[in-house]
Structure formats: structure tokens, C-alpha cells
Symmetry: C2
Subunit: 214 residues, 2 copies
Amino acid sequence: MPSRKIPRATAKRLPVYYRYLNVLLNANKHRVSSTELSEAVQVDSATIRRDFSYFGELGKRGYGYDVESLLKFFRGILNQDKLTSVALVGVGSLGSALMNYNFHQSTNLRISAAFDPKPELANTIKSGIPVYPAAELEKQIKEQQIDAAILTVPGEKSQEVTDQLVAAGVHGILNFTPVRLSVPKNVQVQNIDLTNELQTLIYFIESNKAREEE
Amino acid sequence: MPSRKIPRATAKRLPVYYRYLNVLLNANKHRVSSTELSEAVQVDSATIRRDFSYFGELGKRGYGYDVESLLKFFRGILNQDKLTSVALVGVGSLGSALMNYNFHQSTNLRISAAFDPKPELANTIKSGIPVYPAAELEKQIKEQQIDAAILTVPGEKSQEVTDQLVAAGVHGILNFTPVRLSVPKNVQVQNIDLTNELQTLIYFIESNKAREEE
DNA sequence: TAGATTGTTAATCGATTAACAATC
DNA sequence: TAGATTGTTAATCGATTAACAATC
């Protein structure tokens, strides 16, 4: 039902488009051109048209794109037409913050189960999400047919927990630990390394300064 | 003292290399080849050699790279030879988690000031970091000569706060809000959009499944 | 028809990688 | 010298973008 092979760079922009289309809908706009979109999402208009074109001829020449139908289309592409349940493993301070984070408000995603080995957390409810002991990980993930997990455990535990997640049938991991996980090739990993991001930012700032001093 | 123009993709990998070199140092390894490094950091060995070569001839043919001297070199490149102070604006649950996050352990970075408009937080200390009222933002940033800020305010406030940060002299922002900030071109922004990351992950999982069913 | 904007061709750019001469 | 591994050339790949014919 979707289409051929979508470039990775395009896939990463889809949520950006999707979000802005929702903004337009709420503002009661019915049409939008690639140029208008371009300004709002800071992506070149030709790139936007190219991105859209991977999915077919979604616009009308001389007119632009119909907000509602485009939104409806992307809703399907991004699996936003059904609720997706996600697990979170590691209820430390970052994990807790993410449990409290409102993914659900803007998307059809929710964290439906959290796991942590600390006995005092077992079988409690945090930010409306049940917290299970680590031992129940496989059972719950299978029962709830969870496909994706957010990994916020300490780095030393991350590979071990990953193996358990994979064994339980998870196909994607959003990895907040600095460890490069090894997973079978049918499992997706997206790394979010906060230290690296901050370090890179500092690097760019400093090299920018150096460049300006010329 | 550094060198010419480093490609963006290379710059983003520098912290990854840096971290692993520290691991090697702690493990008392004195030399490493691009092939060994490649396995650990999951980057092609030719890419690693190319990356390093932007900074000069850092290795010895037939031998590899000397861990200690490479580390020393990258320490300079990544400004890890001096302490860098960073501000955090928006002490919500994500902000609090980041204040508690141990950037400082693995790098020479620390959050030295946090800001929040909530009166009950003003002039308290959280996770060892002083929290100032929003009104003191410009004053503190200037006094502490802070160059980079972590932005964890609600999306609606983000542009306003960004303008204040820029006015106060900040040159880089790690933006956790979904808003695409507009900043002067001498200011760096790195976006970390958690909702997008999760949505993209789900997209990849689903399209992988679709591909496997063939 | 005149004006606007798409979808796509072709050019360009940036990043990755295979392969190997240089050399420790 | 023989073996190993770099640094770099050249090829390839993937992503971006200018430009414009197609067409609403």
C-alpha cells in the first residue's frame, strides 16, 4: 500500500511535514504550496516536492497541496491512523521525564509499559503508565504486542537489556545510552546520544568563532 | 591551530571517536588500528582514516594510531581541555532529568546555571545546579560567559526564550522543543525532537516489516 | 487565456568506500 | 626484508537543488 524505497533522509522529514500539516489544519488553512511549507519547516521547496513525489502525485499543479488530503495520506504512511504502544525500559530520571513527555498529545503514540528492576517501583503507576519489574519484560511485551522500546538504562546494562528486548520480539529501539548496540539486522536502532549532541554543538560554536576571526 | 573546513558528518563523529579512545585508555591499550576502531564505533575504517586525515597525519603506517596522543589531540579539537559551562532553560521534567544527567562525568561540560519562571524554583539548587528566575537570564549568562544553552521550555515559549538567549550572547542552542527556531546565522541550533525520533523509528519498523513480507 | 505551482530532469554537492601506493 | 596499516585517489552512492516543461 505505501510505495517503493523511500530515502532515509526523506523518511526523517516526514514527521516534520506531518506536524506542520496539523498546524495548518488547526489554523483552518485548506491549501499549501511547497514554498509556504518550505519556510515553515526550513527545508528547500524542491526537496519537499521531491519528498512528496516518492509517494505519488500528491499535489495539483498551479494550486499546491490540499492540506486535509495530504494529512490524511501521511497519517497512513506514518501509522498515525492506529495507536502504537511503546515500552520504556529504565525508569531513572531521564526515563521518568520521557514517561511524562507528551508524545501522545501530538501523535498516536503512547508508552504503555515501563520496566525497572528497583523493587520500590515494581507494580506502581507513574505518569499514568504501569511500571513492571524487569522480570516481566518478555511477558508484557509479548502480551501487549509491543514493537518498539525506549532504552534509558545505564550504559552497562544496555546490551543485556537489548538482547532481552530483541528476544521478546521488539523490532525497534530508541537508544538513549552511549553504547553502540548490536542487534540482528531486522531490528532498527536510533541513537540519541545527549553527550555527543552537546559536544558537537560546542565544537560547531568554537569552529564558527575561529572562522569569524578572519 | 585546528585546520581547514571539517565536513559536518565528520564533526558529528568526533565525540564518538573521543569516547572510545577514552575507553581504550582506561583499558590500558596503547595503540589502535582503524579496523579495530571501526568495529567498536560501527563506522567504516576508510571513513575513520579519512576523518582523521582532515586533521593531519595522525597515525603511523604499519602501526596504527597511538591512543594517548590521538586522545590528546582530539581533546584539544573538542575543547575538552577546558571546562565549558552551559545553561539550561526550562526546569520541567525533561530539564530536571538533564540537570541530573552526567554530562560532566564523561566530558568537560557542565550545566552551570538553570533558569525557570516558576517562583518556587527561583534561587534553589537542583542536582547541584543553581536555578535562577527567568529575569536573571541575561545577567547570569553574561557574567558566566556562557556560550551554549539547552532549551527545554514549552514549545510556545521557545522562540521568545531563544531571542533572549541570543541577545545575551549565546552562540549555540540544543533545542528540545519541536519548534524550528529562527536565529541569526552566527548561532548554531541542534534540534533534538523526541517525538520525531520515535515517529521515524516506528516508520522504519513498519516499512521494514512490509519489505520482509515479500 | 494568464498565472501559478507541481513533478521531474539534470546538475551539483557532500559523504562513503574500495583499492592501493606509500611507508613504518 | 616481510607484514601491516596508513593516507589518499578514484569510483560510487545518496541527497540537494536549480530550472523548467507540464498542466491545473
